[in-house]
């Protein structure tokens, strides 16, 4: 048994942590959040150069990592610094789907993603789909050599920055069937594709995407007709490892900020951390943080195992519960200061809590865990 990171991953962690602590300050990050694009192309480029995106792909795909622990190492650090840039959307989801399904021509995009020159977005969720991955009502119909796509996609993160959207659409089956879902690489400027963009609660931007008679060539299809669901499930599993690790990294920051504050802030003539009522509550956060760390380890370590989905459901459920506790208790123990936008914890707490709303909250993953355990 060995719970240490490999030498390569340790180097990646050290490099990333050093870069982000120097460059991704609270002030810098808050300016990025307030900007029109909601992301920094400069930071993106530098992180790509450091190999952060390459670490999320296997050697076959042109990267140098791609395993569960590569994902968790990178995203823990992104979470610790509260990074809002769309690594999940462009690399894990978008790049991951192309790497898994793309033909030779399409695989070229993976290189662009790893190099940092191309952004992607997964346009899958719809206004009524909530967290249900199989609920797709957008349709794709053949018209000669073309495919015509019609539908609406909800909260498409990173849509505005993306060169291509990976759009899921039905070529068969009812609204909940696992079969019949196809994936298409749709250029962002495709005629008939419109976006209503907006900022998100915890930074970054998303858009409501309308596909009105969008015409693409049949060669825009990723993988086989109607067979996209398995690949979607696979990249979402990787995304869930990333999200769990990111939230855990943010929880580390939240507890560290709280520790510093408790030992610095004086009321009634002494550091408030010396009041036992607060010291015990802080200890509970540390205990839960270790639980969270182990849950991420479980999920990352089982990414390629038969028990993958159950382990991931467990991790996301545990992270959702402990994350909320850490975020809320960290704010409460700070008091008013943590309620202000310019204080680091405010952003970190939002990152933790809003993780709930991507690919399922505590209840969704609890239900999945129960279902998978019974099977």
């Amino acid at each position: 048994m060995d719970f240490n990171l490999t030498e390569e991953r340790q180097m990646l962690q050290d490099t990333l942590r050093r870069f982000l602590s120097e460059r991704y300050t609270t002030t810098e990050r808050n300016a990025i959040i307030d900007s029109d694009t909601g992301l920094s192309t400069e930071i993106w480029g530098e992180l790509a150069e450091l190999g952060v995106i390459g670490a999320l792909f296997t050697e076959d795909q042109g990267g140098f990592g791609g395993a569960g622990f590569d994902i968790s190492t990178v995203f823990e650090e992104l979470g610790r610094a509260g990074v809002v840039e769309p690594f999940l959307d462009t690399a894990i989801l978008g790049g991951g789907l192309i790497a898994a399904l793309g033909n030779d021509a399409q695989q070229g995009f993976v290189e662009d993603v790893i190099g940092g020159s191309l952004h992607l977005a997964l346009a899958h969720g719809e206004p009524a789909s909530r967290y249900d991955l199989s609920r797709v009502e957008t349709t794709a119909k053949a018209d000669g050599d073309d495919i015509v796509i019609e539908g609406r996609k909800a909260v498409v993160i990173n849509a505005e920055a993306a060169g291509y959207l990976i759009v899921s659409a039905r070529e068969g089956g009812g609204p909940f069937s696992l079969d019949g879902i196809s994936l298409f690489l749709v250029p962002a400027e495709a005629s008939g594709l419109t976006m209503q963009g907006y900022p998100m609660m915890s930074g970054g931007r998303a858009a409501e995407v309308t596909l009105d008679n969008v015409r693409v060539s049949a060669s825009a299809r990723l993988g086989a007709e109607g067979a996209g669901f398995q690949a979607l499930t696979d990249v979402v599993a990787r995304a869930n490892v990333a999200l769990a690790a990111e939230a855990m990294g943010a929880m580390e920051s939240a507890t560290e900020l709280t520790r510093e504050y408790l030992m610095t802030r004086k009321q009634f003539g002494r550091p408030i951390g010396t009041f036992q009522a607060l010291a015990h509550r802080f200890s509970d956060l540390l205990i839960e943080l270790e639980q969270a760390r182990s849950a991420v380890t479980n999920a990352a370590g089982h990414l390629d195992s038969d028990d993958r989905d159950r382990q991931i459901a467990a991790a996301r459920n545990l992270i959702a519960r402990t994350g909320r506790l850490v975020a809320e208790e960290a704010i409460q123990m700070h008091g008013g200061i943590a309620m202000t936008q310019e204080y680091e914890l405010a952003h970190i707490a939002k990152r933790i809590v809003m993780t709930d709303h991507r690919f399922g909250d505590a209840d969704y993953h609890l239900e999945r865990f129960i279902g998978l355990s019974a099977a």
Binding site: G125, P127, A128, R130, Y131, D132, R135, A154, V155, I157, F176, Q196, Y198, P199, M200, M201, S202, A206, E208, K266, Q267, F268, A277, L278, R324, E328, I331, Q332, G335, G336, A338, M339, T340, Q341, E342, A346, H347, A349, K350, V353, M354, D356, H357, R358, D361, D363, Y364, L366, E367
Partner: protein, 396 residues
């Protein structure tokens, strides 16, 4: 024991309901229901509507022109207002400063300030907390030094809610730095237009400019603006903090919030079924409702004692702790209920002329969840309340 309202109380409730149906502007209650802000004009309009009816001063004694409702009537009114999505009454002048002036102010101060609170001439804000004096309020450092017939005030206040709208601020200031902490504090009324005052907004984590920092740089305040005696300010501040507060449990807000979550959960679907039928969500919802039912009765028990003349003591602290936990739990459920549509940041979606992002009920829920973390922090944090409960009940 009788858990129902008397005939008179029921008649009063109907009167309140009718009034709200007739006089509460629809666009205003719609905004409150959607979690939007109504701005200074909105609050002033609602105050003037209530004042016209004589209900703005419902907690004031008759001798000051108040309606002098008892605790049950106040509770009914506050409950009905919350259920009808009426704006909350801005408390700083009406229920924080006014009781202090009525008890400790001079006749001249009462005659001058009280009518201006009612007719909206003056918008008051509260100058208590300081950067170094939060839970430990008595350690405040803002200095007031006597100079002829003025005090010269220097220092800083913070978390000043809606201070950006205020014409006046009531402040705790240190007038005797050598006395024991609580004994050197005075209660001053300060015109916000006095030279040397600088108000700077603090943006909260949900993006709202709700609170402010107020800086005082050699601000000259006439001595007649001192309330009561010099160095007795702590007594007045404590009176204000322990002044009977029937609304502290927020039962009406919780009930309205819970109804809103249920409405949303009927419209949202999970796995093709209404979310409200999802056993996990339904269980969470039921647990909060069970807690709320019990707390509502605790609240009424205490109100009933108060009506019988017993001043509530630590019960206020208990209601504050439980009430805020319940409200925050409801905010959490509201956030979960809307799923991915909690992610859009509402201010643009709600305040702009754009189409709403997702269903209209989704816009403000995440912002409200984060904003209402304040409930357990301000007005004496829940830790301070627990300290009070332990101190009183454990006899230590």
């Amino acid at each position: 024991m009788d858990l129902s309202y008397t005939q008179e109380e029921l008649a009063f409730r109907d009167e309140v309901r009718t009034f709200l149906e007739e006089k509460l502007p629809k666009d205003m209650s719609d905004k409150i229901r959607r979690g939007e802000h109504i701005g200074k004009e909105g609050h002033e309009l609602w105050h003037s509507i209530l004042n016209e009816k004589g209900w703005l001063s419902y907690g004031w004694p008759k001798e000051f022109g108040g309606a002098e409702w008892n605790a049950v009537q106040r509770h009914i009114f506050e409950d009905e207002c919350a259920a009808a999505y009426a704006p909350r009454i801005v408390p700083f002048g009406l229920s924080m400063l006014a009781p202090v002036l009525q008890k400790f102010g001079s006749k001249a101060q009462q005659d001058h300030y009280l009518p201006r609170i009612l007719d909206g001439t003056n918008w008051w804000c509260q100058g208590y907390s300081e950067p170094g004096a939060g839970s430990d309020l008595a350690s405040l450092k803002t200095r007031a030094v006597r100079d002829g017939d003025h005090y010269v005030v220097n220092g800083q206040k913070t978390w000043t809610t809606l201070g950006q709208y205020a014409d006046w601020i009531f402040c705790l200031v240190r007038t005797d730095p050598d006395a024991k902490q609580q004994e050197g504090i005075s209660f001053l009324l300060i015109d916000m237009n006095t030279p040397g005052i600088d108000v700077r907004p603090i943006i909260l984590l949900d993006g709202t400019p709700e609170v402010n920092e107020v800086f005082f740089d050699n601000v000259r305040v006439p001595v007649e603006n001192l309330v009561g005696e010099e160095n007795k300010g702590w007594t007045y501040a404590k009176y204000l903090l322990t002044h009977e507060r029937t609304g502290i449990a927020g039962v009406g807000f919780s009930r309205a919030g819970l109804d809103a979550v249920k409405r949303v959960a009927r419209q949202e679907s999970a796995n093709g079924r209404p979310l409200i039928e999802n056993p996990h969500f339904a269980a969470r919802l039921a647990q909060v409702e069970i807690d709320l039912m019990a707390m509502s009765t605790t609240n009424l028990r205490i109100i009933s004692q108060a009506t019988a003349g017993q001043a509530p003591g630590v019960e206020s602290s208990m209601l504050k702790v439980k009430g805020t936990i319940i409200r925050q739990e409801i905010n959490d459920l509201a956030r979960r209920a809307v799923g991915p549509y909690a992610m859009p940041f509402a201010s643009e979606a709600v305040e702009g002329d754009n189409d709403p992002i997702g269903p209209d009920y989704a816009g403000p829920v995440a912002a409200q969840y984060f904003n209402n973390r304040k409930l357990s922090i301000f007005g004496g944090s829940n830790e301070i309340q627990r300290g009070i409960i332990a101190k009183v009940k454990m006899g230590g």
